[in-house]
């Protein structure tokens, strides 16, 4: 792999940038792999990367029906945080946050992880009780988190309106300083380049059309480019997980909903951090390019259209203007949608299935981006060892039978 550095950049500039190598190959599929990952988004690519790099499994293919990182990795609002309420979720997302901290260096690819912090606002007495509870739990779990007053909110994000003008004035917030945002596409590309450099075959424009299953064991997949064998198959297909599961005769407790986001035109720096509000229902941060990156909740109906309804966009902007009245004259550039696979308890599924060798990593709902490295890492460990990693174990499909749900609706109510 060609190492990237500032020095290298200068050197290439003098060569008129004619000597940059491909960031990943475009190989022909082999007949057989040790592990197949279905889905070339962030989570799938991260899984492949860690399989090859950390667990020595290099005969791996990532099968992607479109282009790498083209699903929710390309469509999310890039928020990274780990201030989840329950122990199991906190551990998973904090494991991810720890990996984020060194990810650019590990991948030798600048994913622009920017630890500008996340405010989760409270607007009612009950909001504040929930915030205190979550922050106390975070603190005792070793997750950076604190309760801040409206005045402290204003110091962190000076343009926010903390006055009583608001319909629901801000009563306080939780503040996770180590949280932030990252450059979403770069995450997919960095993992892709890293995985490729360790020998992983990234097969784009390759669509899985079925599974080869015999005697309750997975033997491979059928694709539009022929059959490919592997005794371990990990499906990491986000909104299309339910479709894949059906091909294997498995029913997952998932609903695929549209989730929308939008950006303003690029502006000079005006926001410092990520501000989220469950109560007025919207969140906003500013990208390095200058866009206000804005999102809210899912559309209520089910769909695979990667488009949502206009009222959701209207409600979202109402919330943003409620929190930041001066953004009223700022203009919205673009909106888009993704398909999110939501679980009944707003937590993901990382699990074996009744088919031996077939694993699923899905159900990340509205907040999967932040988990990308952590999800990939623990899923890779599970695939490599044939046993679910301890951090992944509580997220088994079994929990929907036993009732051991991990209800994170409070933390994930407005997504992310």
């Amino acid at each position: 792999m060609q190492r990237y550095s500032g020095f290298g950049l200068v050197k290439h500039a003098f060569g008129h940038h004619e000597n940059w190598e491909r960031q990943w190959r475009n190989p022909e599929p082999k007949k057989q792999y040790d592990v197949i990952i279905v889905g070339g988004g962030g989570h799938g690519l991260a899984t492949a990367y860690y399989l090859a790099k950390e667990f020595g499994v290099r005969n791996v293919a990532v099968i992607e029906k479109g282009w790498l990182g083209g699903g929710n990795t390309a469509r999310n609002t890039t928020i990274v945080r780990s201030n989840y309420l329950w122990d199991e979720a906190g551990r998973l997302y904090n494991h991810s946050l720890d990996l984020w901290k060194g990810l650019s260096q590990d991948l030798n690819y600048n994913v622009m992880f920017s630890q500008r912090g996340v405010l989760n606002l409270g607007h009612t007495l009950q909001d504040m009780r929930d915030i205190q509870r979550r922050v106390n739990a975070n603190r005792l779990n070793g997750i950076d988190s604190e309760v801040v007053t409206p005045q402290q909110v204003k110091e962190i994000e000076p343009e926010i309106d903390i006055s009583n003008r608001a319909r629901y004035p801000i009563m306080g917030a939780s503040w996770q300083k180590s949280a932030g945002v990252a450059r979403h596409d770069a995450v997919a590309w960095g993992f892709a380049r890293g995985a490729d450099s360790h020998g992983v075959d990234l097969l784009q424009n390759t669509e899985v059309t079925g599974f080869k299953i015999r005697d309750g064991k997975v033997l491979g997949v059928h694709t539009n480019r022929g059959d490919i064998e592997a005794h371990t198959v990990g499906c990491v297909a986000a909104g299309n997980s339910g479709v894949l599961a059906k091909m294997a005769g498995i029913k997952l407790p998932l609903e695929s909903h549209p989730l929308q986001a939008l950006v303003s035109e690029p502006l000079k720096p005006i926001l410092n951090t990520v501000t989220m509000s469950n109560h007025v229902h919207g969140y906003v941060s500013q990208s390095d390019k200058g866009d206000l990156v804005i999102g809210a909740g899912i559309d209520g109906y089910l769909g695979y259209g990667q488009r949502g309804s206009y009222p959701t966009i209207e409600h979202t902007l109402q919330a943003i203007v409620e929190m930041f009245p001066m953004f009223s004259r700022v203009r919205m550039n673009r909106q888009w949608g993704g398909i999110v696979d939501t679980c009944p308890d707003a937590c993901p599924i990382l699990s074996k299935t009744d088919v031996k060798g077939l694993y699923f990593n899905c159900g990340w709902g509205t907040g999967g981006f932040k988990a990308t490295p952590g999800s990939g890492h623990v899923f890779a460990a599970s695939l490599a060892k044939g046993e679910m990693h301890p951090i992944a174990a509580p997220f088994s499909i079994d929990r929907f039978h036993t009732g051991a749900l991990i209800d994170e609706h409070g933390a994930a109510g407005v997504a992310h």
Binding site: D87, N110, L140, P266, A404
Partner: protein, 1013 residues
């Protein structure tokens, strides 16, 4: 300064109406009818901005929505700032103030341009992914400077003085674009009687007809526009919306239109003299048929230094000359691939300035316009193209060479031509954006050398967007589409439009040229810009493809092609063509990226409409609200309701603290009598022969035997067995019940009942009706409650006659009332329900009689303390969607043996819900009576363990009790009921660890005698 580039005659501006405006602090003049761009060009302003990455000087390139460069900051005052206004789309008004968004100390001499010049080579696409990685700790510093360099304009920092609104329409035919095709479509649809909406984004309707050289029926095209608009305006079924951009095309022919109402008049509506007028309006249109008549965008050619001020697209040159009477330079070189662009040279020459040459990429151009140019003595250089623009601050010349497009090389000698303007045209791209919003993919048309819209159900296309070029084709296609749209919408055919005759023009075939070859290769070529706003060059696209970014989406994301506020209207097709060449594929194989709403950016305010400030979310007040206000209540938001939180008294000019007020209110209830406005609790009237059966299915407990006149407390679970709401339900008659819900849960409970009824048990005859607002509820509670009530009601209050959990009808304070003997305080209590508009009278009468008992109003905080002292839960505070009725110790309220499997029953028998070590509701008594534990504090058994600690529960409710003279709390605790008497620990953020004893949830009157005195 005079308007050096203003022609002495011509154009559609009003020369009698001069306007003054300011750009970068300099005052200029223009005319009514100008855009900011035309006025700047008239005044000879070349440099409008500095580019985003390389800080290169940039001027006006286009004349409409496709303009990438001339993006300015608008507004004379802080509150009227608007970032990123496209000068080509901003109508000029007197007093307009605009600034460049980049450039320091000024846009002419920008320091950053040296960084761009010297450092540009070190900034290939994606360079930021390859560097700034070490040391890791420096990233936030690097990023700070990256952020400072990014962005275009700036947000205002104070609130917007203007208002916005929404309008909703249904129509038969929605015509988007009022050029030749759109006007013909609208007219032909409207004549059949269809309800037509015609919108157009420009200051004036007419589209390219406004600068057309063609005549209609022998007279200027403008006359036909006027006639057509007059006829349309006279029809009641037609709505004309000028200055209105169709910004989004959504599913099922739902179109959002953004109308600029005052932006062309002044900074604010007030400044314009219309203080009540919305600055912008969002129209939400549902159309039976949409006619897309959005025309085309001209593609510039991609040659070296094609971004220097003085480079323009050819059509824009014609627009400025013919529509605005502005000629943007002195000497012109036109470089083209097609006949239509020749107009620019002809218009230029007719305006009296010099055309140096037309450089045509075709070997043998031959068409009417080509002949006309030759006949006018213009030099036409064939088989050639401008390969590079020369100049520093503005074009000073053009390098021209013969080109071999098949091999992508230049051939022959390079000729230098002196000029100050280069107009270019690489052909025309149909404006497919809106159709793409619906999810359909544009289709490549090899004859047109452009993408046309894919199929959309309910959409028709007319004119240029469908590839019908030439005015005669455009008009007839528009008329056809309008007629068809009306027929499709159910109207009878109105007959052919009597279309004006247009002299047909013969155009020769165009050739395919996007990027122009240069004598140097790759990144050695002086920059050839594809997307000017994002500084994306042809070599950047080449590099991206070399690095393995083969999908056009990857190319877009790696280079930022098309990510600007223009969404790549000028550059995207060129970029795709370049990527295709580099990858050795055809353009349709490479495909397009997806265009998203908005077509052009629209203000947040317009999307928000009136749903801001006071109207962001309605406030709900009880019938007694005014009394509470006058009594000095502090309020709490509960759902949408404003509920009195506590009633501080003023003594000696000093307001009582919340702690003191709550203590006083609590003692009043425990020792005398208090009154609570409980009107906000949800009330659902349930009727029907199966009402009782239905209740048995949605509540965990039994309802079969509840007799009329009796009340029962019920628990409602979700299908996962977790408690979702609670409340009392009263039997009003055998088929008639009144359910109460929590304040916040009222709407969701009603929805829940409806969902189960409508989807699962439609066979049950039962009906639900929200009556929350119809009844006001007043809770009179305390040992003196019966005495007070006896003075105001005719109901027999004898404790044997009117038992706990009974309800009775009668008069209270002279009005008909329902009185319920239920208690949320543990004291004797009467809940009085009266028709809401009688409530104030009843409340005041109670206070008249209550004075002698020191009747004390109390708020939600006291209510919380009183109920917590009795161990009564609040759903949503003591529960969180993970708590079962068993966890709460409410085994008594679960009817396991009910015949029907009520909601949640099955889930309660799952292994995890049956676990013995679940968290259970307990009471906590702090070891230090002065401590009030923090709500949300986490409980541990071993305070000395290392982080991460093992947490076993948390405090759900915690207060100071003036009766206990101690803090006390409710909590959920793992195996809590087994831990009575044990000590648990609560480590806090300040480093202190509190100790508490696990106790019963009932702190006062464990036998429950007081509520029955």
């Amino acid at each position: 300064m005079t308007q050096t580039n203003r022609l002495s005659a011509g154009g559609r501006i009003d020369r009698s109406h001069g306007l003054e405006f300011t750009f970068n602090g300099q005052r200029y003049q223009g005319f009514a009818g100008d855009t900011l761009a035309s006025a700047l060009l008239a005044n000879g302003v070349d440099i409008i901005n500095r580019s985003f990455k390389y800080s290169r000087a940039r001027g006006i390139v286009a004349a409409g929505a496709e303009e990438p460069n001339a993006v300015v900051q608008l507004g004379a005052r802080e509150e009227t700032q608007v970032p990123n206004v496209r000068a080509t789309q901003q109508g000029l008004y007197d007093g307009l103030v605009a600034r460049s968004t980049n450039g320091w100390p000024n846009v002419q001499r920008d320091v950053m341009s040296w960084v761009g010049k010297l450092g540009g080579n070190f900034m290939p696409p994606g360079f930021y992914y390859k560097t700034f990685m070490s040391p890791a700790s420096m990233w936030m510093t690097y990023e700070k400077y990256i952020r400072m360099g990014a962005g275009l304009g700036r947000a205002p920092t104070v609130a917007d003085p203007d208002i916005y609104d929404h309008m909703h329409h249904h129509c038969d035919v929605m015509v988007i674009g009022a050029g030749a095709a759109g006007l013909a479509a609208a007219l032909s649809a409207a004549r059949s009687g269809a309800r037509v909406i015609l919108c157009d984004e420009q200051e004036e309707m007419g589209g390219s007809l406004l600068d057309s050289r063609d005549t209609l029926d022998g007279v200027s095209a403008v006359r036909w526009i006027e006639q057509t608009l007059n006829e349309l305006a006279s029809m009641e079924t037609v709505t004309l919306l000028p200055r209105t951009t169709a910004n989004g095309y959504h599913d099922h022919n739902f179109v959002t239109l953004h109308e600029r109402r005052t932006e062309h008049l002044a900074d604010t509506a007030s400044d314009a003299g219309f203080p009540d007028m919305p600055r912008a309006r969002l129209h939400r249109v549902r159309a039976t048929r949409v006619v897309l008549a959005t025309g085309t965008h001209e593609r510039p050619l991609v040659y070296a230094n094609n971004d220097l001020p003085g480079n323009m697209v050819a059509g824009a040159v014609s627009t400025y000359i013919r529509r605005y009477g502005v000629i943007p330079g002195n000497s012109l070189v036109l470089t083209t691939s097609n006949d239509h662009a020749y107009r620019a040279a002809l218009d230029w020459q007719e305006a009296g300035r010099k055309v140096v040459a037309i450089v045509d990429a075709r070997a043998n151009p031959d068409g009417d316009l080509v002949r006309q140019a030759c006949d006018s003595g213009i030099r036409v250089i064939t088989g050639s193209a401008v390969i590079e623009a020369k100049g520093t601050q503005r074009v000073s010349g053009a390098r021209v060479s013969a080109v071999d497009l098949d091999h992508f090389v230049i051939t022959g000698r390079i000729e230098d031509l002196e000029c100050d303007t280069i107009a270019s045209s690489g052909g025309y791209s149909p404006v497919v954006h809106l159709s793409s919003h619906t999810g359909t993919r544009p289709q490549w048309d090899e004859n047109l050398l452009g993408f046309v819209p894919g199929e959309v159900k309910g959409m028709l296309m007319a004119g240029g967007v469908a590839g019908h070029y030439g005015l005669d084709n455009t008009l007839s296609d528009g008329a056809r589409a309008g007629r068809q749209a009306a027929i499709d919408s159910g109207f009878d055919e109105a007959g052919e439009l009597n279309l004006p005759t247009v002299k047909a023009r013969r155009d020769g075939p165009a050739c395919a040229i996007y990027q122009v070859p240069h004598e140097k290769k790759g990144l050695r070529v002086p920059k050839q810009f594809v997307d000017m706003q994002n500084d994306v060059t042809a070599s950047a696209i080449e590099l991206a493809t070399r690095e393995g970014f083969e999908s056009i989406e990857h190319v877009k994301r790696y280079t930022a092609l098309g990510f600007g506020t223009d969404q790549g209207k000028l550059g995207n097709i060129n970029g795709m063509a370049i990527a295709a060449r580099c990858l050795g594929r055809s353009i349709p194989e490479v495909g397009t990226t997806v265009f998203r709403p908005n077509y052009t950016p629209i203000t947040f305010g317009a999307i928000v409409g009136r749903h801001c400030d006071e109207l962001f979310d309605p406030k709900r007040y009880t019938a007694l609200h005014q009394w509470h206000v006058e009594y000095g209540a502090e309020f709490e938001d509960v759902g949408q309701w404003k509920r009195p939180w506590y009633f501080p008294r003023n003594a000696n000019g000093k307001k009582e603290s919340m702690h003191d007020a709550v203590a006083r209110e609590c003692l009043a209830v425990r020792q005398g009598v208090g009154i609570l406005d409980a009107s906000t609790l949800g009330k659902i009237d349930i009727q029907g022969p199966d009402a009782r059966e239905f209740l048995g299915r949605v509540y965990t407990n039994k309802w079969a035997k509840l007799a009329p006149g009796r009340v029962r407390y019920g628990l409602m679970c979700k299908d996962d067995g977790m408690l979702m709401d609670d409340g009392t339900t009263s039997c009003l008659g055998d088929n008639h019940f009144l359910m109460t819900t929590t304040t916040g849960g009222a709407a969701s409970v009603l929805e829940w009942l409806e969902v189960w009824h409508q989807t699962e048990w439609p066979e049950l005859q039962v009906y639900f009706n929200s009556v929350t607002d119809h009844w006001a509820t007043m809770t009179v509670t305390g040992p003196e409650a019966r005495k007070l009530m006896s003075e105001v009601t005719d109901i027999d209050l004898d404790r044997e006659q009117f038992k706990f959990m009974d309800w009775k009808e009668g008069n209270v304070a002279g009005v008909p009332a329902r009185v319920f003997r239920i208690s949320f305080t543990g004291e004797l209590a009467y809940e009085i329900n009266v028709q809401a508009n009688y409530a104030m009278q009843v409340w005041k009468t109670l206070f008249e009689h209550g004075e002698k008992y020191d009747l004390t109003p109390y708020g939600t905080e006291t209510m919380h303390v009183l109920r917590a002292e009795k161990g009564l839960i609040i759903v949503g505070q003591d529960t969180d969607g993970s708590v079962t009725p068993e966890d709460l110790g409410m085994h008594w309220a679960i009817g396991y043996d009910k015949p029907f499997h009520w909601i949640g029953k099955r889930a309660l028998s799952r292994p995890d819900t049956m676990r013995g070590d679940r968290k259970q509701l307990v009471g906590l008594k702090p070891k230090d009576a002065n401590v009030v534990l923090e709500e949300g504090a986490q409980i541990v058994l071993d305070p000395n363990q290392a982080i991460p600690m093992s947490m076993v529960g948390h405090v759900t409710s915690s207060y100071y009790s003036p009766v206990l003279e101690s803090g006390f709390a409710l909590a959920v605790l793992k195996e809590g009921r087994e831990r009575m008497g044990q000590t648990v620990y609560l480590p806090m953020s300040d480093g202190k660890t509190h100790e508490a004893e696990v106790v019963s949830t009932v702190f006062i009157d464990p036998k429950g005698e007081r509520q029955n005195v």
